[in-house]
Symmetry: C2
Subunit: 366 residues, 2 copies
DNA sequence: CCTGTCAATGACAACGTTACCATATTAAGA
DNA sequence: TCTTAATATGGTAACGTTGTCATTGACAGG
């Protein structure tokens, strides 16, 4: 164990961290033409080495089939020898295009967004794009700031976990003239492309499920704004249509953790008229409700049925297992990625709209 | 409710999504000089409008104090009027710098990484940087690919959730000549900067905590590689030093969900010699263990004490509440951000190393 | 009044790439 | 054989910005 002083004077004890010297040390000119490695090598250097014009190197890299096999081979060798990699800034400056696909998540901490981004990234990276994620934090201000910087950056496409609500921001994105993917809802007039599902229908489906299982006096717990509001709207409609009484709506502005869910359930239980079931349109809140129910010895589902929205692995595992309505967010990401690629490839009759089915995962909470 | 057909022929029912027409429509020339908005306006256009040279506009934007107040005002007005925003590619090409800070997460789905990235992003964005996150997915191959593209992209700095293990990738990052931040461990020889904590010490502390509470026959559950291996190493050392018997080590290669944790506990309980406590060096696994214990009517902590590692909100809330060793990942992100900014500002005597204290959050599981 | 110093500003060129057009080469059709 | 078209390649310029250096004027010290 080795130690040293950091600048604060406290003793630092280092961990031993595994180092891996890879068997295949990367790009080193075989023989004498060892390159300064870290330093800049331009397309001109490669061209000189391969004895072609720079433009040919450019072509060989982006449209290999437009260059004759022999030159292509020479160029490939020169690239390998020099360790050349294209300067994306110069390329983007001249061509007005880049190979970066920018994603914006309203919240990096959501398991479901993360899962969709992960699959979407996989699809796009396989197609040679660089997939980067920025954050907007459920705030219009941050969203606007992020989109401004985006405007300048000329990405190849944009992926959003959600839909843009602010009209000026919609306009800004539309003006970019690149593929834009919105998700997680089903707006009447998407900016460009959409892979989503109906949140109001999710609400109606929730009412339907509760009705079928005999519940007639229910409560709603969810976020006040955005998609939460849509689910509530659908839920209200469904309840009304089926003759279910919606005895209370417990709305929160912002979900920071399961404790918000706990609070919601306490508050619901404190009402004079107790519901026999609960639709919780947010999985973190649902989790909190489940826990609080246990704490108050409210048996689920005997005393209170709970229906959640989302895909929480953990909520499904906590006894008696939360029954949830949701979508396959990994699938959503994959579909979005595929659709973006099709649009980027430019074949005009691209599908621009995909509606995902809602899926129900059965637990024991209803 | 409105409907239409998508390209697959299924009926699409649109949600009503909230639209917000903002009261303050952005940048529109007051009066006649309305700009084509979406189209490119260059520094030259601004310069012409302000009746100065392009270079002066450039200066006014990056070093306002180097331009006289009157010209600065004219320029600002021209910028507002045209809606000009700097072309980051041209800027990066010429200057070799950019205002993008790139972060790489080995796993976007980790609550803790997300939390650190969130706070780090906040700090850097406040300082005017654009914070983007890429993914490496715990795979050396992806990591290498990501770092290659990074090499070309010349970000202002790089933030990593973890440390780089592959020597060739370490070399690559070192060669960039920009601030590099590693985290979440305490390697002997960081690439550049480090905000981390000792994983072996976490293991030793775990042994210590178990010892103090009277446990003498314990089991370990965790990931096989990376930091998990370090925690195990520390735990072994601690157990040996204190005379605790480590009756089994249950290692998993990859954690995909709580079910992995369930499996681990089953497997531990199936051993002939049952431990009286468990150190679970991963919070998802710990959660699974807690659930499985409940299912098998193993009372926690009476029959089996469980100590976790991490910061899981949910694990802390599940009765009896998981006791955990961990770090404040939001703090980690903030510290990393602050250190990066200091380094970017260029004042040489920058602190390059910060060791975070381990924190213990008490639940009822020990 | 002259010279040296400093601040403010501008002219010019260059960063590395690709769009555009021109040319050379080859294949195909009459 | 002669055009016509298609393919392969290169020359030139330009994308929008900023580094470098030169110029201007103001001001202080001699």
């Amino acid at each position: 164990m080795q130690s040293a002083q950091d600048e604060n004077g406290s003793t630092v004890v280092y961990d031993d961290v595994l180092r891996i010297a890879d068997a295949d040390p990367p790009k080193q000119g075989h023989g004498t033409e060892r390159q300064a490695a870290s330093q800049r090598v331009s397309i001109g250097d490669v061209a000189r080495l391969a004895d072609v014009a720079p433009i040919t190197v450019s072509r060989a890299l982006r449209n290999p089939q437009k260059v004759s096999p022999d030159k292509r081979a020479r160029i490939e060798q020169a690239v390998a020898q020099t360790g050349y990699s294209i300067n994306p800034h110069a390329s983007a400056l001249k061509s007005g295009r880049s190979n970066v696909v920018l994603a914006f998540a309203s919240n990096l901490m959501s398991e479901q967004f993360a899962s969709a981004l992960k699959t979407c990234a996989a699809v796009l990276e396989d197609a040679g794009y660089l997939f980067l994620v920025g954050q907007t934090s459920y705030s219009y201000e941050r969203e606007t700031a992020a989109l401004r910087s985006l405007h300048a950056m000329k990405p190849a496409a944009v992926m959003l976990t959600g839909v843009i609500e602010l009209e000026s921001n919609r306009e800004l994105l539309r003006g970019l003239g690149i593929p834009i993917m919105e998700t997680w809802a089903l707006p009447r007039d998407p900016i460009d492309m959409l892979v989503g599902f109906s949140n109001t229908e999710a609400g109606r489906l929730a009412a339907d499920m509760l009705f079928r299982r005999g519940y007639r006096k229910v409560a709603y717990v969810g976020r006040r704004g955005g998609r939460g509001a849509l689910r509530l709207q659908g839920f209200r409609e469904g309840c009304q249509a089926l003759g279910i009484r919606l005895v209370c709506e417990e709305l929160v502005d912002d979900v920071t953790g399961v404790s918000d869910g706990r609070r919601c359930l306490s508050s619901v239980l404190a009402r004079p008229e107790k519901p026999d079931a609960l639709f919780c349109s947010n999985d973190v809140l649902a989790l909190g409700c489940m826990m609080e129910a246990r704490r108050f010895n409210v048996r689920v589902p005997t005393d209170l049925g709970i229906l959640g929205f989302g895909q929480s692995d953990i909520a499904a595992e906590i006894p008696p297992g939360l029954t949830m309505i949701g979508v396959d967010s990994a699938l959503l990401g994959r579909e979005a990625g595929a659709m973006l690629i099709a649009s980027l490839a430019g074949t005009p009759p691209t599908q621009k709209l995909k509606r995902l089915d809602l899926i129900v995962s059965e637990g024991g909470s209803l």
